[in-house]
């Protein structure tokens, strides 16, 4: 198990190296010159050239990458070309709001989604199943900005129970995490249901019934535990997506998160911030995947013993 963990951690390194190269390249494929954008429309060629030199954009691309990679290894992410603040400070300020929002949204969505999915699977074909799946499809297809605005209208404007937006107290978290979690809960409900139904037709579930196991244990011990594997993968993926910052929900609720920072940085061609954010997202994804695989190994002995 320990060697498995070490092997997997080592496997992360080449992934991150490859990502850093791709991100670096793709950011420079964006049309538009950051130096000119920073200098403003009135600036002279000499000013633009000075800024370009200042940002090291006049050097050969591999030297720029070398400088960037050295920075990554020493923990220096550079400075934002827009605000002149260290990138670490910029991202650091935005990271916690996004992380907390994601955790709250994922927490309720996972519980609600998986419970609904299992109940649907148990009652498959009956009205409870159909009602739950209608809800799930609605949850997936309902646009989040619209849902967010409706919730603000009801709970903030009409009832006055919760703030309309911003970041601070626990009340600020309710509506954004509700909005953000709906789609996740819906996806997980559908996913759990199909995994559950598939496992429910397996031979070993029949074996469990044949030895007189009560239905409750047939569902929990024999069916659900085996059905969890694909659901955990999906949960991990969703978690990663949300950690990338939900641009729409952050905008609707004026949330100071990573999603909005990324959009702003792209419009200013703020290379260092874009690079750092995408590196961060990749790292998060890789770590989440690693976590998912470890949970897999705990649940599925076949992986543990390999």
């Amino acid at each position: 198990m320990l060697s498995y963990l070490l092997r997997r951690l080592l496997g992360v390194v080449p992934v991150l190296v490859a990502v850093s190269i791709f991100v670096f390249g793709f950011v420079r494929l964006l049309p538009g010159d950051p130096a000119r954008l920073m200098a403003g429309p009135e600036a002279s060629e000499a000013d633009v050239a000075a800024i370009r030199h200042d940002l090291s954009l006049d050097q050969p691309i591999w030297e720029q990458y070398g400088r960037y990679a050295r920075g990554l290894l020493t923990g220096d992410l550079g400075r934002s070309s827009r605000t002149r603040q260290p990138v670490a400070t910029e991202i650091g300020a935005r990271f916690m709001p996004t992380l907390w929002l994601t955790i709250f949204a994922m927490a309720w969505a996972t519980v609600a989604g998986m419970t609904t999915g299992v109940l649907s699977g148990v009652k498959r074909g009956r009205w409870q199943d159909q009602a739950a799946m209608v809800l799930a499809v609605s949850g997936i297809s309902f646009p989040s900005f619209w849902l967010g605005l409706l919730l603000i209208d009801l709970f903030s404007v009409r009832l006055g129970w919760l703030p309309t937006g911003g970041y601070g107290t626990w009340q600020h978290f309710v509506l954004p995490s509700l909005t953000l979690g709906v789609a996740v809960a819906a996806v997980l409900a559908r996913f759990t249901r199909s995994a559950f139904v598939e496992v429910a037709s397996e031979d070993f579930v029949r074996t469990a019934r044949a030895k007189g196991v009560p239905e409750r244990l047939v569902i929990l011990r024999h069916t659900l535990r085996n059905a969890l594997l694909p659901v955990i993968t999906m949960t991990g993926l969703q978690f990663g997506f949300l950690l990338g910052g939900a641009v729409v929900v952050e905008t609707v609720f004026a949330w100071p998160g990573l999603g909005r920072l990324l959009v702003d940085s792209v419009s200013y061609r703020d290379y260092p911030v874009i690079q750092a954010e995408i590196m961060l997202f990749s790292l998060e994804f890789v770590l989440i995947n690693l976590g998912v695989d470890l949970i897999y190994a705990v649940i599925n002995p076949e992986i543990r013993f390999r």
Partner: protein
Amino acid sequence: MQAEPVLPLLDIAGLSVAFANDRGDDFTAVRGLDLVVAEGETLAVVGESGSGKSVTAMAVTRLIDNAGGRITGGTIRFRDRSGAVRDLAREPAADMRRLRGPEIAMVFQEPMTSLNPVLTVGDQIAEAIELHQRLSHQAAREEARRMLERVRIPEAARQLDRYPFQLSGGMRQRVMIAMALSCRPRMLIADEPTTALDVTVQAQVLRLMRELQREFGMAMIFITHDMGVVAEIADRVLVMRAGEKVEEGDVFAIFERPAAPYTRALLAAVPALGSLAHESLPRAFPENGRDLPPQDTVREGGPPVLEVQDLTTRFDVASGWFTRNKARIHAVEHVSLEVRPGETLGLVGESGCGKSSTGRSVIRLEQPQAGAIRFEGSDVSVLRGDAEARLRRGVQYVFQDPFASLDPRLTVGFSIAEPITTNRLLSGPAVEARVGELLRQVGLPPEHGRRYPHELSGGQRQRVCIARALASEPRLIIADEAVAALDVSIRAQVVNLLMALQRERGLAFLFISHDMAVVERIAHRVAVMYLGQIVEIGPRQAVMIDPQHAYTRRLLAAVPVPDPRQRGHERGLDDSEVPSPLRRLDDPPQVAPLVQVGPDHYVARHHVGGLY
């Protein structure tokens, strides 16, 4: 003095079971079935697929409720431990659950999928004990260990903490039996418990079940399609067809004086090992009660169709990014064989012996590491241009599962036409005419070309696969367990079809099979594989009558004989397992040339591995 009339343990009367389908009308799987099982007796329920034999078992245990079926009529009267007679057809689900395990237990066909993959063997056996005997977990595990010992699993205590995937198929089926017997049921329903097992393992498990039945004094319903197995185990036999009882009787009466024509046909279709002991040539199954002529189709002289020399295919195991590979599967190890024009070479062995890997390596579905392959005298070891085209066209493959090997979204006519058009043999309307002709040759009406695979039965689908194999006018067909998934009567028909095609076209076959009795029917020569090597190869009659290798003898001894008077109680079977062909890198297997022991008859005299 008259004995007290003994009440039967199970008395089924007029049982009907139906399944609702999508269109809302019911499909009746079992119709008006009467069945009686006395205490301590073994009743074999025999039938082909769709006969309703498994549905009957599911109805008795009421697992049918979870499988979409419904008991629509009749009674299932079962006398429980306290002597009360209960009608299981009307028993409430909760009471029924308490009967499953301590009163009625089941063993299923697929040991690979019937155990929960994420729970240890010990926990799965202990679960039932805890539930029904109200023992603590520790005591239940102790009992589980005793059960594993009773089913002759070595090192039982150590096996408790292992997971199903760490056990072989035979071991898993022993675990299933231990689980079923753990609550001392009064009746065991075994649904094809040995069908998925290798023949030597089947013999071990059958013997075990017979012994345990005696030790536990329980009744048994043994469901099977295999008349050989019936002869081995049954006291009485009930033959089913299309949901109805055809015939019922004492096992000797059924085998010696079958009354129903269907039973007679079923018995005639069973290949009995040794039925061609006195003939040197193969011979097709009798058709319509008439014997067919011997299969004298081998053309001597000239080059063989296929010549394989020292073919070696190995698979490396666990080669991750940062792990050196530690082991290697020696699937095919220095295999040499040849197939002559018009000849059938039977390649036999148990699962994992490398017989399929050999076939797949010949047509390069696997990449061999070494060896020479010559097709009609020219080297095709390296697939390039001309050689590849010749091999691809000249050698065709028929797989075991006819459903999985046809594209469900294409008509079967299209599937058959594909090799004709890719090999540019014909074009335009001639293709369609040729497809019709091929369908006729395999015994199907040409109109079937417009159907999709799911609209055909298993036997028809395998005929389509054979037609597709014939489409490119091959010289050699590699049939890899091609009749293994078919019912006995269909199997006989398809074997006869292959043999008729051989007579008409001089086709050669490499017939890969685990079924010695079928191989005896079809093969001119036989090669026996064990742990990736051929341990014996020679004329069929010589190998089967006078086997020279110990493993060949063991394989032949394990084949169930469809005659209850030859019940092989003590055939000197051991409980040893075939070892794995997986070996450490620094531990290659011993390989040596075979030794000639008779005309065209060669045998391995070196230590191949395991016991041999």
